[in-house]
């Protein structure tokens, strides 16, 4: 039948484009599961950006110097901007930001579990920049070559800013690690708390990852969770030495034979607990988001009604003129 033939033809073309490393654009035909996979991943990524504003935003009003305060506000603002780019990228796939936010608020779409940990000291802001933004970059740099054009392009912009955040976090910890005893202890405490969760950001081990295979085939994902995790450890282990801080893993050491750092076993039971919603801040983060959204409802409604009134007034004026 003609239709099926047509269908087969676009599918062939799609597969050929993926194989040839060409970019898929919004107007191109794409398989449903490719679209679904992308929407899920981009939405989760966008949600992570905006939920991620909370743990660091927590310190804006208490930042200990005006310079750090400016850097922190700019960083949290960047994360809001990342959310905006990513929701726009998702919208090219036929969903709206409002729908995706509803799914987040109803707990039906996820965000990165890392943000379910609390920022209990000022140094946590530095540790997040160094480790969390660092892990995010390791994850995201390959996404700049993702097969879906709008996502890949958003990632190029985002990665530039994330690497800035990572350097700022590192620099902040560097200063703390050379400061007073109390500051040093603050920095070490933060690294102790954020190290393992940051390794978990790459997701479950390859043997147990449910979505990886399809994403790899579609060239949305380029490296496996374990490959990326290793890459990250290889980057931060020598950086920790420069900082003069200890990573809380007694098994961490250079393995000359492998050409990589070995590291100890990850407590996946904790990862699963947090994923299930039992982390220290799961409820708090979602409640904060829901509250901001609910409290803003009358403002969004006012903006919508005003715009409609404006349009009606312009229409009337046009009629009167005619």
């Amino acid at each position: 039948m003609a239709e099926t033939e047509n269908g087969d033809r676009w599918r062939e073309r799609f597969d050929a484009m993926i194989a040839a490393e060409e970019r898929i654009e919004p107007r191109d035909h794409m398989p449903d599961d490719y679209r679904r996979t992308l929407v899920r991943q981009i939405a989760q990524h966008a949600h992570s950006e905006i939920i991620g504003m909370q743990p660091e935003g927590n310190w804006i009003t208490r930042a200990p110097s005006l310079n750090r305060k400016a850097v922190l506000i700019a960083k949290v603002q960047d994360e809001a901007g990342h959310g905006l780019y990513l929701y726009s990228a998702a919208e090219t796939l036929g969903v709206t930001r409002a729908e995706l936010l509803d799914l987040l608020h109803e707990g039906r779409q996820r965000y990165s579990s890392i943000f379910n940990y609390p920022t209990v000291s000022w140094a946590d802001v530095g540790a997040i920049g160094w480790l969390v933004d660092g892990a995010a970059i390791t994850n995201q740099v390959p996404l700049c070559r993702c097969s879906y054009g709008p996502y890949a392009r958003a990632m190029v912009r985002i990665c530039k800013e994330e690497s800035f955040h990572q350097r700022q976090g590192f620099e902040m910890l560097y200063v703390l690690a050379r400061g007073t005893d109390a500051q040093k202890a603050m920095a070490q405490g933060a690294v102790d708390r954020w190290y393992w969760p940051s390794l978990m950001m790459f997701g479950p081990p390859d043997s147990e990852s449910s979505h990886s295979e399809r994403s790899m085939a579609y060239k949305i994902k380029r490296f496996s969770n374990d490959e990326l995790r290793q890459k990250f450890v290889d980057i931060i282990a020598p950086q920790a030495e420069v900082l003069g801080l200890t990573l809380p893993d007694p098994d961490l050491r250079w393995n000359g034979e492998r050409g990589h750092y070995d590291f100890g076993p990850i407590d996946w039971s904790e990862f699963n607990r947090v994923l299930k919603g039992e982390g220290p801040c799961n409820r708090q983060r979602l409640e904060h988001r829901r509250a901001a959204h609910a409290e803003g409802a009358w403002v969004r409604e006012a903006a919508r009604v005003h715009a409609a009134k404006q349009a009606a007034r312009a229409e009337r004026e046009k009629e009167n003129a005619a």
């Binding site: 905006i50 504003m53 909370q54 935003g57 804006i60 009003t61 208490r62 930042a63 200990p64 110097s65 005006l66 310079n67 750090r68 305060k69 400016a70 506000i73 700019a74 949290v76 603002q77 809001a80 901007g81 959310g83 905006l84 929701y87 930001r97 000022w122 200063v175 703390l176 400061g179 007073t180 109390a182 500051q183 904060h288 509250a291 901001a292 409290e295 803003g296 409802a297 009358w298 403002v299 969004r300 409604e301 006012a302 903006a303 919508r304 009604v305 005003h306 009134k309 404006q310």
Partner: protein, 268 residues
């Protein structure tokens, strides 16, 4: 010291006090906006409010640094921007009370921003001609930023005033709450008299007509009436410029200064 020397010293003290109060205005206005990041009604507003907070913080840093350097010339002791922001007590802050008013809801924030940035825009426009080059330079940059801030506030005032019945009521309530603190912006005192005579600063009363014109336009576009709530003066007629603040201000400072003060002498 001869008479001219004494006058110059008085002018310098007044200029320092003047620059300091402008710095305090910007610092506290920025701080209140910083409280809202991740709490805005929509993502675009998180970006916009953070943007404005950053501009104001940048202004505050330039002004506080400038005041600190001027003071050093007089006393030989330098206070940095951080010394001034984190190590002064409540009564040593001379920001107007308007900027310290809490973010009761989005309309209160917008009302505060409308009234303050409308004023600060006129102020910095005038200060571009300051006899003090540093201050004139800061004003030249600030006026561009404030032109965006007041536009942002005016647009929201119109949306909220013209939008729904609820948004209109809230916008009215926000304006009514902030309005009583606007007289303070235009009040003259020893400091403003001294700096306007010296040509380093401006007589605040001079800024009022243009501010009222801007406000009248915004309110009329929004279909809102001119607020009529009576001015609130502090005890004994004293207000923010005298270091006498609203009760909310102590909590703001406690939060802002706590970490810095817990680690005396530490570098961050």
């Amino acid at each position: 010291m001869n008479e001219r020397g004494a006058n110059a010293a008085a002018t310098d003290t007044a200029t320092i006090a003047y620059v300091l109060r402008l710095g305090d205005d910007a610092l506290i206005a920025s701080h209140r906006l910083g409280e809202l990041v991740s709490r805005a009604p929509q993502l675009e507003e998180d970006v916009a409010l953070a943007n404005i907070a950053l501009d104001l913080l940048g202004q505050a840093r330039s002004l506080l640094t400038c005041a600190g350097r001027m003071e050093e010339q007089l006393t030989g002791v330098l206070r940095t921007e951080d010394d001034l922001a984190y190590l002064r007590d409540e009564q040593q802050f001379t920001n107007c009370r308007l900027v310290e008013l809490p973010n009761t809801d989005f309309a209160h924030t917008i009302a505060r921003q409308l009234l303050f940035s409308g004023y600060a825009f006129e102020l910095y426009a005038a200060l571009r001609d300051s006899a003090d080059d540093t201050l004139a330079g800061i004003a030249g940059k600030a006026v561009k930023e404030l032109s965006y801030h007041r536009d942002h506030a005016a647009r929201w005032t119109v949306r909220l005033g013209d939008g729904t019945r609820e948004s209109r009521e809230r916008m009215k309530a926000g304006l009514d709450a902030a309005w009583p603190y606007t007289d303070e912006l235009f009040a003259a005192d020893q400091v403003t008299r001294s700096v306007s005579e010296a040509g380093t600063g401006v007589d605040p009363a001079r800024l009022r007509p243009a501010w009222e014109e801007f406000l009248a336009q915004a309110l009329s576009d929004a279909g809102l009436d001119w607020p009529e709530t009576a001015p609130i003066t502090g005890p004994g007629g004293m207000g923010g410029r005298d270091g006498v603040h609203t009760e909310a201000f102590g909590y703001l400072l406690a939060e802002m200064q706590h970490l810095h003060r817990s680690h005396p002498g530490a570098a961050w």
